[in-house]
Amino acid sequence: MVGRGLLRHGAKVTGRAGGPNRTAPAAAKHRIGRAPYAAGVSDDDLVRRLRAGDESAFAEAVNTYHSSMVRLAQTFVSSRAVAEEVAQDTWLAVLKGIDHFEGRSSLKTWIFRILANRARSTGVHEQRTTPVDLTDEATVDSRRFDAVGAWSDPPAHWSDEVVDRLSSGPLVAQVRAGISELPEGQRAVVTLRDLDGLSSKDVCDVLGISQANQRVLLHRGRSRIRALLELELAKR
């Protein structure tokens, strides 16, 4: 088994998973790439303006990242209000630390890592128990397979319809609820990877977990949400 409480262990590690692999060429490539985020803002430009004390740069960063930060923080703390506090504290840490930002990760990854570390330590402070995946978790209920492992109850065909059904009805709200019920590690990985669109490497970086654990948590989280969709789509 993998994934035993590694998120929690990760919290104590100040280095990043894969840190030594972050070579200078990779960092340079990232900067040249100038991958635009939602607002079409390049990191270099935004970082320079933040360092210069440009308030409009801070406002842009808040517009781009704050809502996602609160969403991620909610994975680790018990209430929306505490999540907002953690996000606010993170902004102060970002302002204090921006001169030391080295551009080895994207600005977004750097901010999210500060946030995740703070949210986790706040969660500990609140004495909130962290659900840790210890048990093996079947991707699909084993009763749906026969003795040799072939489908006895194969999936109904709904993959083509699901996107059409997103715009109407409560499906997105149900998926949101399903995400909030995922165990902490799965929720954090699914949120960062599939909702915020981070790469697997960046997810490992933010959460301080290995690639292997990232994949296990992603697999389990996605499998649970797929099962939820299957139930909802079978209700017609």
Binding site: M1, V2, G53, E55, F58, A59, V62, N63, H66, S67, S68, V70, R71, E84, Q88, W91, L92, L95, T139, V140, S142, F145, V148, G149, A150, W151, P154, P155, A156, H157, W158, S159, D160, V162, V163, L166, L171, V172, V175, R176, I179, V190, D194, L195, G197, S200, A212, R215, V216, L218, H219, R222, S223, I225, R226, L229, E230
Partner: protein, 85 residues
């Protein structure tokens, strides 16, 4: 990391466990070929993979809550305090 060794004929119960490793490009070329061969022959697993991809699309459509104007204003005030204005 447990990466099941694929039998020559991968069965459905194994195939569903491999979906994420497949999508993440973590299967060996040989295992990926066997996985794909199974999907070509198995309607249930082909649909299963489509469902996981559809799930990823659905997850990608889940937006965070809008930034409340008062939250934004509060953060800008925090910024001005920080800058000592």
């Amino acid at each position: 990391m447990r990466l099941p060794t694929l039998r020559r004929d991968v069965v459905c119960q194994q195939a569903v466990e491999l979906v994420t490793d497949y999508l993440e490009g973590r299967l060996s070329r040989r295992d990926a070929r066997q996985f794909e061969a199974h999907l070509r022959a198995c309607d249930g697993c082909e649909e299963y993979l489509r469902q996981v991809k559809a799930t990823i699309t659905v997850l990608g459509s889940v937006q965070p809550d809008d930034l409340a104007p008062e939250t934004r204003q509060g953060l800008l005030e925090l910024y001005r305090q920080f800058r000592g204005e």
